[in-house]
Amino acid sequence: MNATIALFLAQDGIINGAIYALLGVALVLVFAVTRVIFVPQGEFVAWGALTVAALEAGTVPGTAWLLAVLGLAAALLEVVRERHAMSVAKVAVMVVRDVALPFALLGLVIWAAPMRLGLAVYVLVTLVLLVPMGPLIYRLAFQPLADAPVLVLFIAAIGVHFSLLGLGLVFFGAEGFRNTPFLDMSFPLGPMMVKAQSVWIVVVTLLLLAALYAFFERTLLGKALRATAVNRLGARLVGIPVRATGRMAFALAAAIGAVSGILIGPLTTIYYDSGFLIGLKGFVAAIIAGLASYPLTALAALLVGMLESFSAFFASAFKEVIVFSLLIPVLVWRSFAAGHHDDEEEE
């Protein structure tokens, strides 16, 4: 290996690390607020890229249909589950928000898809379709389990991942796609060529991390999320609607997942099941940071990205083995650092 290759690998590592950082931060956020280990995060990455790909091809992405179905299911189930607390006004809100709006969107996409309105529109449509899915999934799968142990929520998250994985296959098929870059150009930086898309990724990641920081530090909603993360009961007592913060956290996670997918779509071929491994690497970063610290997560993500790109060079076949085997010593260390508290009690 010479310096050029090392630089090239480092560039790769930084780009991957940036994406893992975004995902890791979202995972920490969701875990802190809802105690859910959000495994399906990876599906949003894949769907972000593949929805753009479908729109580029002038077709209606399956995610548009899914949003409508999820909305309908969430509204129906909520009416049944909370039939004692239902009022006409509540039902009306749900009908408009969860049923009418998604179906209107679906109609719009069907009408506009063949017109090929350009990348900016595709990105916008993708976000509008995917972001509301976060809260809908929270309402369908996790809200009824809000008081369950972390372990139960985790198994449920795996269940959701399993379902979404199959749905991804239905919507996008087994074929992989590589999207058009935002700007198709490269420029020299020292001895190597840097793709514009790579710069995009790093810039957007930094902007998003800064925006998240401002959101948590400067806005009331962000502070409410932080308060819920510290103590759910306490947050409820001071009047923070805990359910709403859960939905908010899932919306943010879905948004971050979708943005990550849109960003990496032009750099690598994405398949319906690519998201899981990408998401898991965000996880490795989040866990190194103890599922608690945002800056540490970002730093750990960079480390994971580097480790991945360098092990891809030295032992490409064993890249995944190396990255995921790293998790075990980290878990052991984390487990002992967390101390011996009796958190396994249930039944």
Binding site: L151, A156, I158, G159, F162, E347
Partner: protein, 592 residues
């Protein structure tokens, strides 16, 4: 015993039904093949039931152990010409060794870190299997020989079906035997957290490792069978998705019940087959679309029936037989109690600091043989922390704690328990789903030692009978005999506190530590408790108790130690303490 009889005949009927199925001429071959797969998956699911439902550890990586068993036999039969039968010990050894290594690292992970770890090694091993040249990379190894008996080869689905279900039957019997034993009760107590189990001499880390390796061995056995039924192996049936499906089987069937694993395996296997027929036609493409339904099923079960489906089925069946109690069994050996008046427990300048907070501030006191000492003080005085120092739940920051002259402040809780110190907990720590008898029997865990193998083979019945008889005697002693076979969770809180005392007595302690034993008791129950304590004292036992009910304390104790803000402010006889001005001030506030 009528219930036991009908339950047994029902099981016999189930076995007969499984055995007769392939003999019926109208049953299509395909069903028999499917039945064989149900058996193969049942083995893995039974292991997961023990791991998840009983041991409280969730694994998504179980498929990897199936892979170890399968690859071990595939390599040995195709590359070294072994017969399939001869590879079983090797397949089990390979799986067991891997499980031991992985288990040593991962079972100590707490809470959700463990399942995350299982995902990590689930993925790692999938890529490892798929990238090793010698194991055929992602194509795997094909051309494995089928099982054969003499000249007859078990290629026919019906023939191998019997082999598979014979193994399942053995696994069910061994697993149920294991659960209904001393080691099994220790495993079942793991879900309640480690503190209570360790307080009675259970080595929880070891118990977890045993469950982990046992579950892996079942998975490895399944892999060994699978390899010769399929006659080919490749990485994909041993990946993470397969691991998730196995967990679904355990969760769906009922993760606390051995037969729930079989039920879950049957439902998932049949459903998968049906969905793989229907969904691709419906969707118009090929693929594993069943994951959509499986995922929704997993979430629905967790939301609607977290115990799985087996309990629903059990409601339709006659109740399972009560555990037999043979009071005639030879009593367990008793500990020699220390002489009356001899120093049993000595705390000397015991200190516990949490950061800047001094919870126990250089406290010294003594408990003598045949004496009841009360530890009293306002809330937050450091009483429970002192208990935890004596029982090894927390290490002391400085100072000495001696038991019969021997220092115990550096010993782990279970070693202290083995020396003869038993305790109850301020917040009841019984396993709600286990019967009172089984809960109390955990108290005697350290008093005899039949192990895993003898439990599985039922060679432990004599020591087991002695242990159960001891538990029954202690339950009788505290007056709960009529509730003996009820789940502990169904008792009133006061009764649960008394049950904790019975469990502690089961350890045959020389020193008994009771943390607020009278809280939540009715007047009559308190009187009975006082009588019991007096009787224990008369027998020569020493008791240290924390209690807020002053009438009770004054009546039963010989000596009182008063703590306030972690510091000992007085000690003496109940009569002295009741007029001590310092104590009165601590309790009632200063009289200005």
């Amino acid at each position: 015993m009528a219930a036991a009889g009908s339950s047994f005949s029902l099981r016999l009927f189930a076995v007969a039904a499984v055995a007769v199925l392939p003999l019926l001429p109208f049953v299509p071959d395909f069903w028999i093949t499917l039945g064989g797969y149900i058996g193969l998956y049942s083995l893995v699911a039974i292991g997961l039931v023990l791991l998840t439902g009983v041991g409280g550890m969730t694994s998504f990586g179980q498929a990897a152990f199936v892979g170890f068993g399968a690859y071990a036999t595939a390599a040995l039969t195709t590359k070294f010409g072994f017969s399939p039968w001869a590879t079983l010990p090797f397949a089990l050894a390979a799986t067991g060794l891997m499980a031991l290594l992985i288990g040593l690292v991962t079972v100590k992970l707490s809470g959700h870190y463990l399942p995350l770890g299982t995902i990590a090694w689930g993925i790692s091993f999938f890529y490892l299997f798929g990238n090793i040249e010698w194991l055929g990379r992602f194509d795997g190894i094909s051309g494995l020989p089928p099982f054969s008996i003499g000249p007859i080869s078990l290629i026919d689905a019906r023939a191998v079906y019997y082999l598979i279900w014979l193994v399942v039957l053995v696994a069910v019997v061994l697993s149920e035997n294991l659960l209904d034993s001393r080691v099994g009760r220790a495993m079942r107590a793991l879900r309640g957290g480690s503190v209570a189990a360790e307080a009675f001499g259970v080595d929880t880390a070891r118990a977890k490792l045993i469950v982990f390796v046992y579950a892996a061995l079942l998975a490895g056995t399944s892999g060994w069978l699978y390899a010769h039924v399929q006659r080919a192996v490749s990485p994909s049936p041993f990946g993470l998705n397969a691991g998730i499906e196995y967990l679904l089987m355990a969760v769906l069937g009922g993760s606390g019940f051995v037969l729930g694993g079989v039920l879950g395996a049957a439902i998932v296997t049949v459903l998968k087959d049906q969905l793989q027929n229907i969904l691709p036609k419906l969707i118009g493409a090929d693929g594993n679309f069943e994951t959509i339904v499986f995922g929704i099923l997993m979430v629905a079960v967790l939301q609607l029936a977290r115990q799985g489906l087996w309990p629903f089925l059990m409601r339709l069946l006659p109740p399972s037989p009560q555990k037999a109690v043979e009071l005639s069994a030879e009593p367990l050996e008793r500990r020699r109690l220390p002489e009356r008046g001899m120093a049993v427990l000595e705390a000397e300048k015991a200190r516990k600091q949490f950061g800047g907070l001094v919870a126990v501030n250089d406290v010294s006191f003594m408990v003598k043989g045949g004496e009841i000492v009360g530890l009293i003080g306002p809330n937050g005085a450091g009483k429970s922390t002192t208990f935890n120092l004596v029982t090894g739940v927390l290490p002391a920051t400085s100072g000495e704690i001696r038991y019969m002259g021997r220092r115990i402040d550096a010993l782990p809780a279970r070693k202290i328990a083995e020396l003869g110190i038993a305790r109850t907990f301020q917040h009841v720590k019984l396993m709600p789903s286990m019967t009172l008898l089984e809960n109390v029997a955990i108290g005697a865990h350290s008093r005899n030692r039949p192990g895993v193998i003898s439990a599985m083979l039922r060679l432990d019945r004599l020591p087991e009978a002695r242990l159960i008889a001891e538990a029954a005697r202690q339950i009788e002693r505290v007056g709960l005999t009529e509730h003996m076979h009820k789940p502990a969770g169904s008792l009133a809180l006061g009764q649960q506190r008394i049950a904790e005392i019975a469990r502690a007595l089961c350890l045959d302690p020389a020193l008994l530590l009771l943390d607020e034993p009278a809280a939540g008791l009715r007047f009559n129950e308190k009187q009975q408790l006082a009588e019991l304590l007096s009787q224990l004292r008369a027998d020569g036992m020493s008791v240290l108790l924390v209690e807020h009910d002053m009438d009770f304390v004054m009546k039963v104790t010989n000596h009182l130690v008063v703590l306030d803000f972690g510091t000992k402010i007085a000690e003496g006889t109940p009569a002295e303490i009741s007029v001590n001005p310092v104590v009165l001030e601590a309790y009632l506030g200063g009289v200005e």
